[in-house]
Amino acid sequence: MRDFVLVHINGVPHRIAAPRAFETLSRFLRYDQRATGTKIVCEEGDCGACTVLVGRVEDRQSCLSASEGTEPRQAGLPVLHYRPINSCIQFLFQLDCTHVVTVEGLARGGTLTPVQDAMVRCHGAQCGYCTPGFIMAMAGMYECTSHPTVGDVRAALTGNLCRCTGYDSIIKAALEATDQPKIEEIYPSAPIVNAIKQYECDAVRLQGLQASEPPSLPGGQEAGRLGGFFKPNDLASAIRFKSENPKCVIVQGATDFGVWCNKRGFVAEAMMSLDGIEGLGDVRHEDGALLVGGRASLADFESAVRGIVPELVPIMDRFGSPQIKNAGTLAGNIANASPIADTLPFLFVTNASLELTGLSGTRTVAISDFYLGYKKLDLQPDELITRIIIPLPSKDETLRLYKISKRSHLDISSFTAAMLMRRSDGHVDSIRIAYGGVAPVVLRLPKTEQFLTGKALARETFAEAGEIARGEVAPISDVRGTRDFRLQLAQNVLQRFYFDIA
């Protein structure tokens, strides 16, 4: 058992113990290390100014922006795989046994790397505040590909906002930097991996902070009664810890947790990471089902569905950003229980189920039974989501997914919908419909489903179904849209569906 985390930053190892380990990475970099190239703007993952690369020893790697796919790597000693993440919603304790590369770590010896040089030449930086984040996101893109397309560039830079340039010059720069070195060439993995290997097998335990301790962390956050952190290396210890700490938060990607902390002053009573547990990170395709591990990232989920559920690809493409998907997990998206979580309508219509593991073993719950009310789950205090089981649509089923948001990319949905239909001879044999953003939980629409069953595929039918659907939902008005807007979407999307499949 260790009482510190080991984090390499730009090649240099740091052993970081409590309370410092409870800092966000961005604050630690800026205010402790005084590496101020990494910027903080929103502190909620929505602007990308804080983007850094995190290298982990991984058995699999997904590349979000690679039209050409992952390049093969040499066998032998494991290497580090680098992915961009938002350092403002990533805590040091999550980064045990990783290598963080910041903008300061690229131009070693004063020579700009090609992405940096191209950004200078193409006028890709105006005020410059977004620039380090873009540089790191581009470097992340070049980890996966050497000849990106415009589409790859847009996908890779979705998570970075720039208010000055209008992006055109940035895209140009990103395309020009084709000889960008891999991070491996700047920081050979071997010494870092060797250092990590010495510690990897240890569980980590960080003491929480008592109210009597000084009220401030080095970066200045208040953490009066902060609970401790545990990174077990087996499932049994995880479950034991969770049963002993019923209010324990699994801090996996922290893409929800980090926002609660930064924006709502949330203080956890106990925290745990599942990073040390083998097997929970996989995504497997078996017997017509997709099996997603309890800590599998959204990025891995996305690359797994790419070949097998094409309808989900555009939705995952618009889900958050590469930074968010690299950190966030499917289990987290499910456990966060937001009625506008983008994966849920899909999981509802495919009749996905969750494997929950607790002190008394494992049980399976249908996703439609998992949500008991707004943010209320059928999940016991000792239980974890260990696997998500998604029966894949068969050849004779038609799947359609919709995400309506104010901005097409990197925006939380105003409304979501999924339809899975079986048809024959121009008739609806059966249909499952799920809507998000119209009630405290994602809804199936039984009346509309029933109405459509057996009906001919005709525009009028779906127009009428839309009116029924409108009656089945009760949306509210909020910042993402008025009730009227959502009601209209609930009605119209069925006609949209008709035209998409007709």
Partner: protein
Amino acid sequence: MSAVGKDVPHDSARGHVTGESIYVDDVPPLFGELVVDFVWSPYSKARIVSLDLSEARKLAYVYTHEDLHHNRLGPIVADEPLLVDDGLCTFRGQPIVVVAAETRAAVDAAKRAVRIEFEELKPILTIDDAIAAQSFIGETRYIRRGDAEAAIASAEHVIEGVFFNQGQDHFYLESQAAIVQPGENGAMHVLSSTQHPTEVQEVIAHLLGLQMNQVVVTTKRMGGAFGGKEAQATHPATMAALVSQKTKRPTRIVYDKDTDMHVTGKRHAFQNRYRVGFTRSGEIVGMKVEFFSDGGAYADLSPAVMARAMTHAENSYYIANMDIRGTVCRTNTPPNTAFRGFGGPQGVATMENVVEEIAAFLKKDALDVRRVNCYGVETRNTTPYGEVVPNNTLPRLLTELPERCDYRARVDAVRAFNASSQTQLKGIALSTVKFGISFNTKFLNQANALVNIYLDGSVQVSTGATEMGQGVNTKIAQLVADELHIPYERVTVMITSTEKNNNTSASAASSAADLNGSAAADGARRIRERLDELESRIGKQETWEKLVKAAYHERVSLGERGFYATPRLDWDWTSGQGTPFLYYTMGTACSEVLIDRFTGDLKVLRSDVLMDIGKPINPGIDRGQLVGAFIQGMGWVTTEDLRYDEKGVLLSHSPTTYKIPNINDLPEVFNMDWIDVENPINVGGSKAVGEPPLLMAISIWCAVKNALQFVANGDIARLKLPATNEEILMRLTEYAKRGAAVA
């Protein structure tokens, strides 16, 4: 070997890409530094019933208005208290108490310990409410020519309507920030993220009871500003300076993004009534337009913003009889302020909307209506306020762009598409802009610059221009290099400091490079004249370095202060007439959009922009301004949706809910170009480019309106700005219902 006209990289680009560029909050903490923050009114309007600071004072330094020498500020009229002083909070976000301590945590604890009891009052939150309550800032102003009433009354056709646009948050990435270091004898040294160091200096001096010569304000760079740091960088800097004055310790204030969005002013929402009379060929014979802007709680720059809206009311079109009125409404929102375009976008959007409606009414192509009304080159070229439009390239632009982008054929294709598609709708529009360059306030149109040549031949230039990414320092260095006949690399533009340049104007109104570049060129030119004179005496020197050495030995001054005052400007509000602008930057843009009939989702398929920006000093930097401004304008007219609740609480106060354009929102086809013409009246033959291209994005909004026109059942389609997917779907639904009712 001219540097002007060359595509040299931004002078900070290297620092930007390596993370070495220093912004305010990147400066390491000074010894003993205090974190400064403030407690603000949580209500749009409220009376302070009681204020108890006793607990807070145990935890931190705490100050109120009583600690200030004066408590009124404002760039035009000093009507705004820095800290609430009469017990009445008039906007949500208004500072009441300043708090400072060594750590963020202690500041937060002290803020929580400030006990304020409020009595909530009913606020004025909309332009309609303000008009009903006759709550205005200043007087209604007028620009009139001819007899608009009579012309409209006798016109063949008349339409009227109300145009509404929302505000826009600046969303500079670096939020408001300042660091203050107290000096000897009460002096202050301030590092501020401001477009206007002199205003920060003046306000700090006044409010803290100092002379201006005791306050030095410096600005290295801003992480974006867009007008938001013209008047409103003053508040944070002054609060920090107050604490430094009281404690004799360095202080730092840095807003977080949410606070910044809650408490600072934005682009003005406008609600404009118009009546326009026109002939069957679409020629406008008379127009009356009444502008109402939401000024917020205090004047700030609102009257000047209104002036620019009014002087852009006719945009590119000659209107013989015009009656323009402008009234600033006083509401209980943060004082609205400068934002790239400065009222111009609101005026121009109103007019472009009218042109689209005339075309819809007459069932003509809107380009033809634009052509009929466009300002002439020799005749029909006087604005309603009496300024002659010089070197008018609008007719040329209106001929060239349609050809280049195949406008006519695409209009036909859009019509055909809409007739056949049951699921989607297209729209296309070609809009124009004529943007006046110069501050509307005459005395602001001046600048000074300091040029110092060192013994090794290297050059430092200091001006009042502030660098916010627009590349003004790079352009100034290029101009100075050419005046001195030396390579660009020998010139460095220094940190902006009120110690080097006094009584400067804000870097605003697109004219920072015009004014400061002219002043710097003036200084350099005068040194060069002395050097030429020296060479005529002692003979031509082989190199620049030798020439500089020789000048030093001959005791010829190697420093100079340049000065520039824009010629011939003049403006008179009593008549609403004058020559407020030196020249106009002009442009045309054509955009085509695709709309989902069921969801209202909007996609910009293509935008072509063609402008007259003179001869660019730095084409790469100017292209960056064109593209950046266009996309920022696209945000304003599409996805940037400031939503408030019924009490005036801003709900979209961070990038999670406030959606500026993302890299995926760029038009699928995007052509940005300019025509090759010199602007004889300005430095280097150039034209200002900072703001005008933002207005080119109005073409996108017009294209949405054009699309809706296809389903409006013969009525004139109405559309608010921004055209969010929700706004579009609501309009589509309304027209579908009305269509069904008619059928």
